[in-house]
Symmetry: C2
Subunit: 279 residues, 2 copies
Amino acid sequence: MKIIEDISEMQRYAAQLRQNGKVVGFVPTMGALHQGHLSLMECARRESDHVVVSLFVNPAQFGPKEDYNKYPRDLKGDIEKVAAIGVDTLFTPTASQIYPEGYRTYIEVEGLSDILCGKIRPGHFRGVATVVLKLFNIVRPHKAFFGQKDFQQTVVIKKMAEDLNTDVTVIVFPTVREPDGLAMSSRNQYLSREERISAAILYRSLLEARLLFEKGEHSEDKLRDAITTTFMSEPSSQLEYVAIVNGNTLQEETDVQKGTVITIAARIGKTRLIDNIIL
Amino acid sequence: MKIIEDISEMQRYAAQLRQNGKVVGFVPTMGALHQGHLSLMECARRESDHVVVSLFVNPAQFGPKEDYNKYPRDLKGDIEKVAAIGVDTLFTPTASQIYPEGYRTYIEVEGLSDILCGKIRPGHFRGVATVVLKLFNIVRPHKAFFGQKDFQQTVVIKKMAEDLNTDVTVIVFPTVREPDGLAMSSRNQYLSREERISAAILYRSLLEARLLFEKGEHSEDKLRDAITTTFMSEPSSQLEYVAIVNGNTLQEETDVQKGTVITIAARIGKTRLIDNIIL
């Protein structure tokens, strides 16, 4: 496996791959890799000739009071995991290369970035859209793979990629879960043993809403109530929002139907977790 | 000369050119072509294997009270001019293809877009940066050519291209002028015969400032005063701003030196014109 740190080197290498007619699959990550990431890479492996994975904890998507500094980092462990999957190229730029002094250009995906998680984390999706476009320009993939767990992120990135004519196909892969249903996330590491048990409430509440829906309940309010009530049974949890939305526009769906997305954010202790389910 | 209207077709064709190892030179224009544009194309012709010119009057860079609707359009004349230069491909997308319904992604180059012309035309450089990035993604040029007349635009685009890792070399070509010194501009068509004569004041005032500088005057205030005074001699003109700035940062330069840029905007009657000179 080739490891590239330098942006220009990555760019030259990517141009070469394209020129040689290789289909390039790309999995951007912030490292601290878990099975969710690895499944994306396996999917990329199947669907491309050459797989590039990036490891970059993106400062631009963290708010000033957020966990940029304590975000888990494990370069050595990540390299081993990635190599075992058969990834071809690992790209590990530094923050000062991605955002050199005097950096001042940002991508805004209006109307999708300031709602749901974006309302609670102002600037977050601006940082996400910006770094993803930069990485697309550096790696020049044909296909890029993202996890469904970060649902709003996938909507923002798909819209950005389309609006800016990037010619990258954005592929969203289903959330990988722990045996008790908790969505895999690098932030699960923050949970104490007790919190880790409580955290299963997120997916449990979504499953209950889905069950109701499958029994014929199409009222947004009723589905929302079911989730809120489920959360009440878990005192260490604090529901931040429940949104029942159209999967492309993220607008609240009054007529809940097959394909509608229920997305939630909650705190378990101090750790903020998100999850979602497509009905 | 190949004429392409469709974005996907242009994208496929551009990918092919790259794959065949061609160096692609790109001149984005809003049409109503004059010798300034044609000189850019001749320069692109010399420096590339394949020259792509785009004609697109970009609604996103016009304010609601600006001249988008009356901006001069002459597709037939433009095609003849471009063909005569030996341009290889002319790209003429429609506004509804570039900004389809639901379009919502914009590029902000912070700190360079809200000063000088950007202060008077809010949103203008956001519209410019956005369309240029989109065109870069569609045409995938190695080099792109812009006229120095729109000086702030060249600074915004260079910064955007660099910050977003576009891998496009931005080349700025000197302003082409009429015999009396007026910078060529599609908007010169708006001038009446009397206004056209008065409009020479822009460049005349810049030349006077340069003469002073060459005689040893390095005071920003004195150079500014010289321009303001020159404009007073021309009653049909109204100076909008004079800025004496660093050519990379657009910050006011207190220590005027070789390489400092004097940039001005003025109205001649109702027509807004800009010009600049590099000392």
